[in-house]
């Protein structure tokens, strides 16, 4: 009974939406309840969820997805500059343009598999990055990043006679400004939508076929499937997710920089996905959240704040704890990141989601209801 309830799409989506929309509340105790970080959680969540459609379902490890994030951002900023400050056209264009690039890059890269595929995607993304940083500066504004200017044409806005009072205009969704908490809620709405699509794909025959390709591609061919278009479709979808994330990044903060396309950015989404749990629905989101949290909160802690945090301890212990933990925060946040990567792979090979499953099993075990829990989501569906 309970199990069926949990497996129902509607229930999952309701719970998911409730959790996402109340994020400003439950992130308060960990100090993450400010708009910028919440927006980043949602946007990189979309990026990771989309990446998981490629990597989690087909097993193809792309090392160049940041290129689509960057392309989405540039497209969106250009839409703000040329068309209108409304985010709707910007995001639609971002998704379409990154989809087109994903089609081209995917078509070429998918001619190879395994590590050869990975390096091809990496090479394309690095070319995009290098060119955006230097030669393509007229389009990308190079190192500084593409920014809005007061004298931008914005033809649609000027057609409707929107007056720019002073300073730079702001991005908006039919009048609702995109910065701050409203920006978070717009991004959250997109995340819920993106998650819903991902859930549908995971639980569709299409998704099952992608999983089967990951499991045994040769067999799929002899079973009568042309695997190339399946892989390409998955590649394009995940590229469009990245474009959506990039477009949202630019909508909330209208600036697009080349470093968004660098290999480290591509690597970041890979790490988010693996850390959270490849092929699980929620895992990549968790991974994105953890990495962004470390980057933004841990890097900002310093000794005086640590002293405050551990103030409940006796003084001698506090000094020791503060001195030890000080190594891992502030400029040492990279160390925490590295250590976390290692600990998770060593102790939780399936990512954070495996930890969640283990805890769930443990609790179920206590109540004597140990069930055969498996990571694949689909089989429960097909019953």
């Amino acid at each position: 009974m309970m199990k069926n309830l949990i497996k129902s799409n509607t229930v999952i989506m309701l719970i998911f939406a409730a959790v996402v929309l109340t994020a400003p509340m439950w992130t308060a105790p960990i100090g993450a309840n400010y708009p910028d970080l919440l927006q980043k959680f949602a946007i990189f969540g979309i990026f990771a969820v989309g990446y998981n459609i490629l990597f989690g379902l087909t097993g193809y490890l792309s090392f160049g997805h940041a290129a689509f994030l960057g392309i989405g951002s540039y497209t969106a900023v250009w839409s703000f500059k040329l068309l209108t400050m409304n985010v709707v056209p910007a995001i639609i264009l971002a998704v379409i343009v990154s989809g087109i690039f994903a089609l081209i890059i995917g078509y070429l890269s998918l001619r190879r598999s395994g590590i050869y595929f990975s390096i091809l995607t990496l090479a394309f993304a690095q070319m995009a990055y290098s060119l955006a940083y230097s030669v393509l500066t007229p389009i990308t504004n190079g190192e500084t990043g593409l920014q809005l200017e007061q004298q931008d044409p914005r033809v649609i806005d000027s057609m409707f006679g929107v007056v720019v009072t002073d300073g730079l205009p702001s991005t908006n969704l039919f009048g609702t400004l995109m910065s701050g908490y409203s920006g978070f809620y717009v991004a959250a709405a997109f995340l819920i939508f993106a998650f819903y699509i991902s859930l549908k794909i995971f639980r569709s025959p299409f998704g099952m076929k992608l999983l089967a390709i990951k499991s045994n591609q040769t067999r799929m061919k002899y079973t009568g499937f042309n695997t190339k278009p399946y892989l390409l479709t998955a590649f394009i979808i995940s590229g469009m997710y990245a474009g959506l994330a990039g477009g949202l990044l630019a909508s909330i903060d209208p600036l697009a920089g080349a470093e968004r396309m660098q290999w480290t950015a591509s690597g970041e989404v890979v790490l988010m996905t693996i850390m959270g749990g490849v092929g699980t629905l929620i895992g990549p989101l968790l991974g994105a959240g953890i990495i962004k949290y470390l980057e933004n909160i841990f890097s900002a802690l310093n000794k005086s704040e640590l002293t405050e945090i551990f103030s409940f301890m006796p003084e001698w212990l506090q000094t020791i704890v503060v001195n030890i933990s000080n190594v891992f925060v502030g400029e040492g946040w990279h160390l925490t990141l590295g250590a976390l990567f290692m600990l998770i792979v060593i102790f939780l090979p399936g990512g954070v989601m495996e930890g969640v499953t283990k805890i769930k099993d443990f609790i179920l075990g206590i109540f004597g209801k140990g069930e055969d829990n498996r990571t694949a989501e689909i089989e429960g569906e097909a019953k």
Partner: protein, 450 residues
């Protein structure tokens, strides 16, 4: 048209106020309230709070991490001095000064820190955190022009004052200048103007230069300025080659210099690129060469002591410009070096100096304005003339928010007397020589009220 009804003016003020003031509970529904603000209500107004928060946004990871660490040291020192702790440093030498050593406007100064990673995205995220979460009233720091411009743009949108750290590109106070952004550091135009005459004196007017330029905005800005001033005095430019940022091995760019007929190599590189290209250029024997009957010379237009450390022996005898050096003997510099040295056991870098000065200047402007309200603080800073902070009499030009002061031309020290004594000051180029019209570089400051 629905759209028009809802967006009569694209103006973010109403929203900002609400978002900044809220915790969580108030967030969602109140976003839609507009224009419900009183005249001097502004983001992160400390109101009755006993403290005021400043945001120090410095590179803590990546290639400029050491520079960032030094900036942070300077900030912490400035906070101490503002709060009346320590020996007061430049607060005693700054003229005119309204600083009393009791914080700013009687409120104790506290700070939050962030890591720019020398990436625009990360720097903006970290600045936003300090503004949105920690309630920072002013953002300062950074070690690259790309980051400075990106954060400056953000601060304009957020209505938070930005006191730039190390940023040398013309654009920061040129085409990308902002009303809320202020730069104490000098720029490539001033480097060119200062270096030009010295180069003429040292190497003559009959020279042919070869530029290697880091392929991004700062590099181009630097190349343009040096070209402008060297060509003015009769130098020819043989070639200007762009090199990829972070190339590591520059051999393929250096070898063409050997037989190009040029007798000066200008390295428009900074940081690791500079260390690598200079080290390798020296290995290729460029400094031992004779071309056109003259000794081959290398010029590095922007120097910093931290980078000089990385280049080791190779820096000896090479000319460049710098914003400030700890060996300066004026009263302000001495006071700063003394208190920095006492605190950390080493001299401050030029980035540290700029950051320290910027913090004091902001605090003083608040005192002058008698409020934290940014437009009033901005007005207090605009056109502010001061002295006693190194670099002689200085002015924050109102039209572009660029500081004008003496620029140092330095040379890598041939005989250092200590591990810190890497640069010797060749000339303190007077301010008048490096000044340029405010409209020369274009750009719009934008509005006071956002």
């Amino acid at each position: 048209m629905k759209k028009n009804e809802n967006t009569p003016h694209l103006n973010r003020r109403g929203f900002l106020k609400v978002a900044s003031a809220t915790g969580v509970a108030a967030s969602a529904p109140m976003i839609f309230m507009k224009d419900a603000y009183a005249a001097k209500d502004f983001r992160n107004d400390p109101k009755d709070s006993k403290t005021v928060t400043l945001g120090f946004n410095v590179p803590q990871s990546g290639p400029y991490a050491d520079e960032g660490a030094d900036e942070l040291r300077a900030y912490k020192l400035a906070v101490k001095h503002l709060n009346g702790e320590g020996d007061g440093g430049m607060m005693k030498t700054m003229k005119p000064s309204m600083l009393k050593g009791n914080g700013i406007l009687g409120k104790k100064v506290v700070f939050s820190t962030g890591d720019t990673q020398t990436k625009s995205d990360a720097a903006r995220a970290s600045a936003k955190r300090m503004i949105e979460k920690d309630g920072a009233l002013m953002i300062t720091g950074g070690s690259s022009s790309g980051v400075a411009i990106a954060v400056q743009g953000l601060c304009q949108e957020m209505g938070t004052i930005f006191m730039a750290g190390l940023t040398h590109s013309n654009d920061t106070t040129g085409k990308d200048r902002r009303r809320y952004g202020f730069r104490h550091f000098f720029n490539t135009e001033m480097s060119g103007a200062a270096l030009g005459p010295v180069l003429e004196k040292e190497y003559g007017t009959d020279r042919t230069a070869y530029h290697l330029t880091a392929d991004y905005t700062w590099g181009w800005s630097q190349e343009g300025s040096i070209k402008k001033y060297t060509e003015k005095m009769g130098w020819k430019t043989k070639a200007a080659v762009k090199t990829p940022v972070g190339a590591g091995d520059f051999s393929q760019f250096i070898t063409p210099v050997l037989n190009s007929g040029a007798d000066v190599l200008v390295l428009n590189h900074y940081g690791k690129d500079m260390v690598n290209s200079l080290t390798q250029a020296v290995q290729f024997g460029l400094r031992d060469k004779q071309v056109n009957g003259k000794d081959f010379q290398i010029v590095v237009p922007l120097f910093s002591r931290l980078m000089a450390q990385g280049a080791g022996e190779n820096i000896k005898g090479i000319l460049g410009s710098t914003n400030w050096n700890w060996a300066l003997k004026d009263e302000g510099s001495a006071a700063f070096v003394k208190s920095f040295g006492a605190e950390y056991g080493q001299p401050p870098s030029m980035a540290a100096h700029t950051c320290y000065v910027q913090t004091l200047l902001y605090a003083n402007a608040c005192e002058m304005a008698g409020t934290f309200y940014p437009p009033e603080v901005i007005k207090a800073l605009e056109g502010f003339k001061f002295d006693g902070m190194g670099n002689g009499p200085t002015e924050y030009r109102a039209e572009d928010h660029q500081c004008f002061k003496d620029v140092l031309v330095v040379r890598g020290n041939e005989k250092p007397t200590s591990q810190f004594d890497l640069l010797e000051v060749v000339q303190e180029v007077p301010r008048a020589q490096v000044e340029y019209p405010h409209d020369m570089l274009g750009g719009e400051l934008g509005p006071y009220e956002v």
